[in-house]
Amino acid sequence: MAPVLMLWLVMSLSGTWAVDKGNFKTCDQSAFCKRQRALKPGESPYRALLETMELTSTRLTLQLINDNNKVHLLLELYRLQGNITRVKINELKPLKPRYEVPDVLIREPSTEPLSLLSQDENGVVLSLGSESQRVIVSARPFRLDIMEGRDVLMSLNSRGLLAFEQLRMRKDTPLFSIHILTQWMISIFKAKEEEEKVEDGMWEETFKSHSDSKPNGPSAISLDFSLPGVEHVYGIPEHADTLRLKTTDNGDPYRLYNLDVFQYELYNPMALYGAVPVMLAHNAQRTTGIFWLNAAETWVDISSNTTVFGKMLDYVQGSSETPQTDVRWISESGIIDVFIMLGPTPKDVFSQYASLTGTQSFPPEAAVGYHQCRWNYNDQEDVTSVDAGFDEHNIPYDYIWLDIEHTDGKRYFTWDPHKFATPKEMLQGLMDKKRKMVAIVDPHIKVDSNYKIHNEIRNRAFYIKNKDGGDYEGWCWPGSAGYPDFTRADMRDWWASMFAYDQYEGSMENLYTWNDMNEPSVFNGPEVTMHKDAVHGAWEHRDVHNLYGFYVQMATAQGLIRRSGGVERPFVLTRAFFAGSQRYGAVWTGDNAAEWDHLKISIPMCLSLGLVGISFCGADVGGFFKSPSTELLVRWYQTGAYQPFFRAHAHLDTPRREPWLFGPENTALIREAVRQRYTLLPYWYQQFYHSHRTGQPIMRPLWVEYPQDPATFALDDEFLIGRDLLVHPVTEEGARGVTAYLPGKDEVWFDVHTFQKHNGAQNLYIPVTISSIPVFQRGGSIIPRKSRVRRSSTCMMQDPYTLYVALNPQRTAEGELYIDDGHTFNYEKKEFIHRKLFFANNMLSSENLAPDAQFSTRSWFERIVILGASKPSKVTLKTADGQESQLEFDFDASMSVLTLRKPSMNAGLDWNVMLQ
C-alpha cells in the first residue's frame, strides 16, 4: 500500500507546479541531450590526422579520429569573406548521408585564401588574413584556437566536448537486402574496433504516450566553444528570458526546438515557437558571433568562471584568471557546420551574419503602422464597425486582421459563407479608406475530400509522410489535418500559386497573410508538435524540424509576390522561424498573456531577435491570454508603439478591448500612443530600409551603440530604435517614475516631448504619469517626422515633413531621409529618394546619398525644429536653383528650441538653411 501512496503523492505534487512544463521535455527527458550532457569536460578522444591535411586555395580539410571507437571524421575549414571562419565536421564515411541545412544561406559563401603559417607534428597554424588573425589546429587532442595577436578570441573543443554519434546499424537489425547486408558487414568490421554501449533512448524513445521509433539510431553532435574575456553572451532566440543569457549549470540548457507552448512561462530556458541558433559574445573590446547551422532539436549550455551557482562574482582585476564564458551546443542530428563571426564590432557581426543569411525584408510602409487584430472579428459587419470605430475615435490604423474563424470550417484560403459572404466587398470597403487586411493561412490542412487544397496536396503527394509511409495526420484546429511538406521546392511553388487572385477566391491586393501554428503545431503530437520519425522524402522530421516554419513563411511570401507579378512587396507574419526568416516578413512573440511581466519581457525577446537578424518583431499588445487592466493595456500600447511590429491581439475568450472601450480618457491615451507611432513613421521606415540594406537591427540593445560601456551590457528595460531614439517604456504597474540610463560620456539626449536636454552617461530618474512614454533623441541626430497623422499611413504618403535637429555639444547633427512609393519593389530599380541631412557650422543642408536614384515626391518640409540652438538674427534658405529667401522663425529661449516656419522646399531636392 505504501509505495502506491507515495507514487500518488509524487504525481499530485508535480501536477500542481509543473502543469505546463510537463508537456515539454527537459534535457533529461530528451535522450540525446541527456547522453551528451553526461559527457563532462576533459581530454577529447579526438585527434587530428595531420597527414591527411589538404590545403587548397579555398579550404583546408583534414581527418579527425576518435581514439575510443576509431571513427573518422572529416574537418573542413574555410575562411569566408568578411572575417568569418566556417568549420564543418561530418563523418568521413557516414552509413548514409547526414542532413545539411539547405536554403538558409543566401548563397554559397565566398571564400578567401587560407595560408599556412607553420606546421609541425603538434599542429598547424593558418593565417586568417591581415590583422594578425590566425587559427591554430592542434592535433592531440584536437582543438581549434582562433587568435588575434597574442589573444585567444575563441577556442573549439578546448574542453573536449566534441562528440559525433556516428550512424550505425542496429545490432539486431534483420537483413533485408544485399545493400543492407554489405553495410552490415562493414558495421561488423567496425564493431570489432568499437566498444559502444547501447543506451536507452538510442534506438527508441518515449515521451508521455508518444514513441519515437528512431530508425537511424543515435546521431547527435556536440561541440564546445570557449570565449576568453567574455562575460556577456546574447541571442539564441526564442526564449522568454533576459537579454543577457544566463549560465545553465544549475538547470536545463537553453533549448531550440520550435514548439507551440500554451501559456508560456517567463525567465526560463524552455523552447518556444522559433529557433535561431546564433549567439553573440561581447566585451568592451570585441564582439563575436557563433552561427550553428543545424535545424534539429538543439540545446545550448552556458557556463562562466565568474558565475558560481548562478550568482555573479565581482571579477577582481589582477585575479589570476581572466573571465571566460564556455558554451556548448548539442544537436540531435545533422552535421557540425558552424560560422564563427569575428566582428570585431557589433556592426561587423551583424554584417557578417547578414552576408550569410540575408537581411530583413523591406516591408510595405503600411505594415510599419498599427495593426488591429482579435481572435476573432466575427463577420463583415463586425469588421465594418471596428473600422468605423477607429474613424469615430480618430485613431489611425493600417491593417485589420482575421483569425481562424473567418474560414469555412478552418479550411484556409476559404471564407465562412455566412459570416464573410462577400469578402471582396469588405476588402473594397477597406481599400476605399486606404486600409488593408490580413487573413490567417495556417499550414495544417483539413483532411476533407471536398476541400480543393487538401485534394490537390494529396493528389500531388505533397503531404509529409508518417513513419509507415502513409500521409501524416495530426489533430489541429480543423480536426484531422495533413501537413504539406514545405521542405520540397515543388510543394512551395505550388503553395505560392494558391495565392493567385483567381485561386484564392475573395482575395484582393490589400489582403495579406499570417502564418500561425507553423512549428508545426500538432495538438495530439509529442510536445504538441510533429513526430520526429515523420518523413520528408529522404529525411526525417527530426532533421528538418526547426526549418518547417521558415519554409512556410518563405512559400507564402513568394505567393504574395507572385500574385502581383513580382511588383508588390509581401507582408507575412509568422510564429515559427529559423535563421534567415528575416527575409520573409515579420515575427511576433506568440501567445503571451495580459500580465505586466509579459509586457516587460517583450523588450528582451524582441532585442534578442534583432541581434540575430530578425528586426520585424513585436508582441501582442494587451497580451493574448487573459484580460488586461486598463492601465496595463495603455502601457502596452505605449510600449508597442515603439517596437517594430505594432499589433494588438486578443484571445477569443477575452472581453472586447478595442481602444475606445475604456472611457474617453483611456481612449485619448491610446490614441496619443498610436499617433506618436504615426508621426515617427518616416524614421521607422528609414530604419527598415537601413536594416534591409545592412542587416543592422532596428530595435537595438544599448550595448550595440555603446559597446565599450559596461553599464549598457545587461540593460533590457530600455532600448534604441536605430541609433537616435532611446525608449524606456513604463512597464511597472502604478509607476510614478522610471530610471533610464542615458549612454554616451560626451553625449546629450533631448526628451522628445519637452525638449529638455540631459547629459549622457547617467542614470536619469524620470517622473511619469499615465500619459508618459519616456523617449529621448540623441544630440547629434536629425529625425524626420510627419506631424499630420491621418487615418492610415497610406493617407500620409504625400504629407510634409518636420525635421527635428538635435544638436550635440559640438553643435552638429546628421540624419537621413528615405522616401519611395511605399509598397513596390521599384526601390530595387533605384526609384527612391535617399538624402543625407546634416547640420554643421550653423548650416543645415540636404545632400543626395543616391544620385543615381530617381523618384519624385510631393512632400515638402513644413517645419524645422532645432533643439539646443541659439537665437539667430536671420535664417536664409537657399534652394537648388540658387534662389535665396528669408525664413520666419520662432525661438524658445527657455528650452533653446528654434522653430523655422514653413521653409516649404521639396523633400527630394538639394537645399541649405543658414542660421546667422
Binding site: N394, D653, R791
Partner: protein
C-alpha cells in the same frame, strides 16, 4: 444734406459690389457661418483661444500657427483642427482636419478634397433625399407604433388585471401549494442534474420547464380531465398560516379568476406564475405597463445556424442545429440611460463559460410596428447583444424632437 450726383451713386454701388466680391473671393475654407465673425478682420488674425496674433495671410496657408488649430480651418496642417463641411442639401458637420485632402471623400459636398487625387462627387442631395425618406418612414413607424402600443397596453392590462386580481386573492389568502412546494424542491434538484446533463448536451431547459408547468397542472387536476375545478383547488392548495385549514369554496373560486374552472393555457399564464414566482407582478413593466404583454411571449431568430429565443422577462436561449440548448441569461433588470429608462434589458447568469463567468445578454429595444428580434451578436465570448423591436418601445418624445429641422 449732401448732394450725390448720379455719377457718384454709381461709384458707390460699384464699390459695394466690388467689396462683396472681394469678401467672397477671400472666403475662408472650412468654417461654418457662425464662425465667420472670427475671420472678419483682414490684417491680422487672433487665434480663437487667444494664444497668438498672426498676419491674416497665414490663415489657411497650410502651416499651423495656433495651438487651437483655428488658423487652419481649411487645411490639414493643425493636429487639433477641424473642417466644416457645409453639405448643402444634407446635414452639415465637422470632420477632423486630418481628413482634408487625404484622398478619401468625407464631406458629401466634396469640399474636403479640393486638392487631392480623389474624384469626389457631390452626393449631398441624394443623401438628403434618402435621409428625408428615412425620417419620414421613421415618423410613420412611430405613428403606427404608438397606436399599436396603445392596443398592446390594453391587452397587457387585461392580462395584468387578471393576474393582479389573482395575485390579490393569493396574497390575501396567503396560500401555498403544499405538494407543489415539495415538487419544486424536487424539481430544483432535478434542475441541478439537468444542468449537468446539459453540459453533456443531452437535455433541454425549455422542455423541462414546460413539463413542470404541466406536471403542476396535472397535480392539481386530480381527475385528469384537463381543467382544474374548485374542488381540485381545495384539495391541493392550503393556507399558509393555518396549518390544516382548507380553502373555502369562495376562496378557491377567486383563485380560479372568478370562474369555476381553469384550463392549462390559462393556468400557465396566471395561477402558475402566482404559485411559483409569486413576485412576477413586481417586475417593472414600464410606466404604462406597456411591456407587460411581452411577459408570456417568446421571439426567435436564426443566425449562422443557431436559433436564438428571447422570452422577455424570463430568459434568453441559444439552440444549435445539433439541438443543444444553452441559456444565455435569465431576466435580470432594466439597464438604461436616465433618458431612456426602458431601452435596454439585461439577462444574466446563463450557462457558465469555459474561462469563468456566465453567459449574459443585453437586449436593446427599438421602436417598430412589429414585435420581433432583429439581430443577435456575440462581440465577446459569452456576451450577447440583441436588437429587439416592438411598438411599445416607441416614445412620443421622439416625435416632438424636430428631426426635420436639421435638414
Amino acid at each position: 444734406f449732401i448732394m450725390v450726383s448720379p455719377d457718384m451713386r454709381f461709384h458707390v454701388i460699384i464699390a459695394a459690389v466690388f467689396w462683396f466680391g472681394f469678401v467672397d473671393s477671400r472666403k475662408i475654407k472650412g468654417i461654418s457661418s457662425s464662425y465667420k465673425r472670427f475671420y472678419r478682420q483682414r490684417k491680422s488674425f487672433l487665434c480663437i483661444h487667444g494664444s497668438k496674433i498672426i498676419p491674416f495671410e497665414q490663415v489657411n496657408d497650410d502651416y499651423c500657427d495656433c495651438d487651437d488649430g483655428s488658423d487652419e480651418p481649411g487645411t490639414s496642417a493643425c493636429p487639433r483642427g477641424r473642417f466644416y463641411c457645409t453639405n448643402l442639401g444634407f446635414r452639415p458637420h465637422y470632420i477632423p482636419s486630418s481628413r482634408v485632402n487625404d484622398g478619401i471623400c468625407d464631406c458629401c459636398d466634396a469640399s474636403d478634397e479640393y486638392n487631392s487625387h480623389a474624384h469626389c462627387q457631390n452626393t449631398c442631395w441624394n443623401l438628403g433625399q434618402r435621409e428625408r425618406a428615412y425620417v419620414a418612414g421613421q415618423m410613420r413607424t412611430l405613428d403606427e407604433g404608438l397606436q399599436l402600443k396603445q392596443q398592446l397596453i390594453e391587452e397587457g392590462l387585461l392580462l395584468w388585471r387578471e393576474n393582479r386580481e389573482l395575485q390579490q386573492v393569493a396574497e390575501d389568502l396567503q396560500i401555498k401549494l403544499e405538494e407543489h412546494r415539495r415538487k419544486k424542491h424536487k424539481a430544483d434538484r432535478l434542475k441541478e442534474q439537468t444542468l449537468k446533463g446539459l453540459q453533456a448536451g443531452d437535455s433541454s431547459l425549455f422542455k423541462r420547464q414546460n413539463s413542470t408547468v404541466i406536471s403542476t397542472f396535472q397535480l392539481l387536476d386530480s381527475n385528469n380531465d384537463g381543467s382544474i375545478t374548485v374542488d381540485e383547488v381545495q384539495a391541493k392548495v392550503a393556507l399558509v398560516h393555518d396549518e390544516e385549514r382548507v380553502l373555502s369554496e369562495d376562496e378557491a373560486v377567486a383563485l380560479l379568476g372568478g370562474g369555476d374552472q381553469m384550463d392549462l393555457t390559462k393556468f400557465q399564464h396566471t395561477l402558475w406564475d402566482i404559485l411559483t414566482k409569486g413576485d412576477s407582478v413586481k417586475v417593472n413593466y414600464g410606466p404604462d405597463w406597456e411591456f407587460l404583454f411581452l411577459n408570456s411571449q417568446c421571439y426567435k431568430l436564426n443566425v449562422y445556424g443557431y436559433t436564438y429565443t428571447l422570452c422577455p422577462f424570463n430568459q434568453v436561449t441559444q439552440k444549435s442545429t445539433a439541438g443543444t440548448e444553452v441559456s444565455l441569461g435569465r431576466w435580470g433588470m432594466w439597464a438604461a440611460t436616465p433618458k431612456h429608462q426602458y431601452s435596454q434589458m439585461v439577462y444574466e447568469n446563463g450557462e457558465p463559460c469555459w474561462q469563468g463567468g456566465s453567459r449574459s445578454t443585453t437586449v436593446t429595444l427599438t421602436c417598430g410596428t412589429e414585435t420581433a428580434l432583429l439581430s443577435v451578436k456575440e462581440p465577446s465570448k459569452c456576451q450577447y447583444i440583441m436588437d429587439f423591436q416592438t411598438p411599445v418601445a416607441c416614445q412620443p418624445v421622439l416625435k416632438q424632437r424636430g428631426i426635420h429641422s436639421e435638414l
